[in-house]
Every structure is written in C-alpha cells, then in structure tokens.
C-alpha cells in the first residue's frame, strides 16, 4: 500500500476542505477502498476519516426516512421500519457481501463502491477506468460479468452493488454536502453515471463532496421483491438482479417500479418498462413484452451474452411472483 496522510474530519466543513485537496479520499467503512489500496488500484495521498462525523441514525423525514450516510448496511437492514416498510431495501442489502462486511460497510460508502471488473483490479491490464486513455482489456477479453446496457467503447464495467438497485426502484435521493457548504439532492437514479468516454468517474460526486444521507420517500407498499442471480448461493456479486415494487389492483398492475443490477455501469432503471406494465393484466405475453423493451438496446460482449436471456427469465419470474402467479 502506498503511504498516505491520515486525517480525521471533525466536522462537515472540515471534511469538505480536506477533501478538495488533490489525491484526497474519504474513508468510512473502508471495506472496498482499503482492498483497492492494497492492490494499489487506489492510491490516495490523503485519507480523510469521516467516521466521527454525526451522520448516523435513521430518522423520520416527511412521510419517509432519512438514512444517515454512516448507518451501516447491517443496521439499515435490521431496522424495523426498513424491514416493514421498505422490504426490498432490506432484502437487497442482505443479498450482498457477508455479515462481517455489512457491519462495516456504510450507506454512503456502499453507493460509492467500485466495479469488480477483473481488468480494473489488475494493474498489468489496460483499463480506462483505472488509468484513462489506456484502453479496455475487457472488450474482447473475459467479460461474462460485464455490462449489456449503457456500455461504451471505453468501458463495459458494471456497478456491482445491491443496495443502490433497491434504492433506485424506491426512487430514493442522495443528500450531498459540497465543500462550499451547500446541500444538493440527487436522485439515486441520477447518482451513478454511464461510462461514456469518462469511465474514471463512477458517479456525479465532485471533489470535496460528502454524502450525508439517503432519503427514502413515503413507504411504497405493494409487493416488494429482490431477486439476485449469482454464481454461488452466498457472498457473490450479481450476474443479474431485479428489485421490484408491484401493486396489483382489480386484476391489473396498478403500479410497477423496477430496477436492475449487474446489467450496466449504474443500477438500471427504464421508465418505459414500468409504463408498459401499468394498467395491464398480468400475463406471460405482457412480461415478454416488458423484457423485450428492457433489452431492446442490449448488446452482449461474447462471454456475457447469457445475461440477456437470464435477465428476461429473472424479470419474468419476479413479475409472476409479484402478481400472484406461480414460479
């Protein structure tokens, strides 16, 4: 690991000032950052420890909840209000990592976790995300975990997380404090970026920004499911995941909220798919249409072509379960 200055932030303003410096990075749980620092994929010159900032706790906010950025994944998934009113979020968190990691991983840090692309973590390989301008060894390489939607010629990496997929389905908002002291609210759906020609930027955070929390809107009700398909039954990243909030009224889908993991550089949300489902009676043909629309622009890279039929089948299984059909 490269040497760095360890600094502890004593207030939000303090954190912002320390973080505008070139090469400075915030550390909260550290489970992803320290892993990457050991590999020297991440080489911050200063680590700003934000753990003692008053950003803990889950508090009522309007009709919803404010989840402090330092709330651990474990604490979030164990919170009775999250489990009862936002079960898709609790399920998504519990589907990721292990209890040890979730005890350390934080709400803010989890949003910022980086891709698990093998070429990103291998210093001997070309990677535009790690080192802009060097190329992408995943294109034409081993790419079974890579993106089928929203990728670019510069990068086909996926965002690996589960929590943010549920937050996207729930239309949650990220609360961000800038180094100048102002606060801005960014929908989770707009927080992560597509790679384009700047894949080194995973999300919209600017130098000096500190995530202070996540806002959940009023409980969405309905049937809430999170289905994750992975290479082994536990402790693996999603090949494909689906977060769903589905309301059925009078035999028709009254409301559908869907987000997908494992498909793209960000949790994938496609309002057209939701609109196609809403107002219709659930049927196999309808679900096929929804999957076809979702995958209209999908493009495989060879090894990940299987994600297209897998996404279709996973979406259909989730929709069948959520609308009362059998698996």
């Amino acid at each position: 690991m490269k040497p760095f200055d360890y600094q502890r932030a004593h207030g939000l303003g303090d954190a912002g000032q320390l973080l505008v410096a070139e090469g400075a990075k915030p550390i909260a749980g550290g489970t992803n950052l320290l892993d990457l620092m050991k590999l020297e994929v991440e080489t911050p010159t200063a680590l700003v420890d934000v753990n003692r900032l008053p950003l803990g706790g889950i508090t009522p906010h309007g009709e919803g909840l404010h989840i402090g950025a330092l709330v651990s994944n474990s604490a979030c998934a164990a919170d009775p209000r999250i489990r009862a009113d936002y079960p898709v979020l609790a399920r998504a968190i519990l589907a990721g990592a292990t209890f040890q990691l979730r005890n350390k991983a934080t709400t803010g840090g989890n949003l910022c976790q980086r891709t698990r692309c093998y070429y990103f973590t291998d210093l001997a390989q070309a990677c535009n995300k790690r080192e802009p301008g060097t190329g992408c060894a995943a294109i034409g390489g081993f790419n079974r975990i890579h993106a089928i939607l929203g990728a670019s010629d510069a990068c086909i990496a996926t965002y690996p997380g589960d929590m943010a997929v549920a937050l996207s389905a729930l239309d949650a908002t990220v609360e961000i404090h800038s180094a100048k002291g102002d606060k801005r609210m960014v929908p989770v759906r707009d927080f992560h970026r597509l790679p384009g020609d700047t894949p080194e930027r995973d999300n919209v955070l600017e130098p000096g920004d500190v995530i202070t929390g996540v806002l959940l809107p009023a409980p969405a009700g309905g049937t809430q499911l999170y289905r994750k398909v992975r290479d082994r039954a536990s402790y693996a990243f999603a090949l494909v995941s689906v977060a769903a909030v589905i309301h059925v009224e009078d035999g028709k889908i009254a409301k559908a909220r869907l987000a997908f993991g494992g498909l793209a550089h960000k949790p994938w949300h496609d309002a057209r798919v939701e609109a196609l489902l809403e107002g219709e009676a659930p049927s196999d043909a309808l679900f096929d249409h929804a999957a076809a629309l979702l995958l209209e622009e999908a493009r495989g890279q060879g090894s990940n072509d299987f994600k297209m039929p897998l996404t279709r089948r996973t979406l259909k299984a989730v929709l069948r379960e959520a609308t009362g059909g059998t698996l």
């Binding site: 760095f4 360890y6 550390i27 550290g30 420890d49 079960p87 209890f99 040890q100 350390k104």
Partner: protein
C-alpha cells in the same frame, strides 16, 4: 485515546497503513487472529469490534482509538474455553485449524445477531423473527471459508451451542 483489546489498553502509535489485523498480530502480540487472504474474502481475521464481527484486515488500526476489540484470546482460554471453542473440539469443527479463530469469533457474533432478531437473505420473512436452521447458519457463516472443508462439523458445533443457549 488508546484502543482496548480483550480488556487491556494499547497505544495506536503506528504507521497509518497498519491494518487492525496487523496491529493485533504484530503490535499487540495477539497471534490468535489469522491472516488468510488479507482482502476480506476468507474471514480468518474476523474479530469483534464493539461487539460486532468485522474483517480486521479491511480496517485501519488508527481509525479505532476508543474502540473495544475482542479476539479469540479474549473469548476463552485452554483452561476455560468458550462454549463454542469446546463445541468445535467435540465436533471436530476443523482440520488444520487456521480458520478456526475467525470461525469462532464469527459464530459468537452470529448467535448475538440472531438473538437481536436480525434476518438474513434466506429468512422467509425479512420483517419477521429469524429461527436458527442449518440453512440460516450456512448463509450467516458464508464469510468464513474453511479450505479443509469442515463445514458440516462447524454447523453441528454451532447448532449445539445455540440449542444449549435457547
């Protein structure tokens, strides 16, 4: 402020790159906690931080002044083993033993998490009260690998302690 490990205080006067794991083994001389992968994948370094299980390889020692850490040395001794240690011996819950300190620290915290009502990804009702089944134990212990493959006996040892506590 010092860090408290198994009830004793230690000063954190170390290179900031020092992981909590390296601090425990090198600076505090507590070599019960093991380094396996050093990347949070194997669980051999599992310790209790303020009562919760974590991978000690994926956190920096300097972040933990004022915190309290319990390692395998703090759970039991050869003369007075923790019930989980005794059960692992009885059930042959290891072969080489390298993963065992992490397995036992993890199992200790896992039983506390169940008692606190935490559900897991295999729980039928995420908002309900979890019941301890073998499936639950296997899911909840998935962060601790055993390359010797003693999993069946590890599960049996944990079941025995859980039933004795119930």
């Amino acid at each position: 402020m010092p860090i408290t490990i198994n009830g004793a205080e230690y000063e954190l006067d170390v290179d900031p790159r020092t992981s909590l794991l390296d601090f425990l083994r090198r600076d505090a001389g507590l070599t019960g906690t093991k380094k396996g992968c050093d990347h949070g994948q194997c669980g051999a370094c599992t310790v209790l931080l303020n009562g919760q299980r974590i991978n000690s390889c994926l956190t920096l020692a300097v972040m933990h002044d004022g915190d309290s850490v319990t390692t395998i040395e703090g759970l039991g001794t050869p003369d007075a083993p923790h019930p989980l240690q005794a059960a692992f011996v009885r059930h042959d819950g290891y072969q080489c033993g390298y993963c065992t300190p992490g397995q036992i620290c993890s199992a200790k915290a896992m039983l506390d998490e169940i008692a606190a009502g935490w559900t897991s990804t295999v729980s039928d009702d995420v908002a309900g009260t979890p019941t301890l089944s073998e499936e639950e134990i296997r899911e909840r212990m998935s962060g601790n690998l055993c390359r010797c493959g003693a999993y069946s006996n590890i599960v049996a040892a944990i079941v025995e302690v859980a039933e004795a506590q119930a």
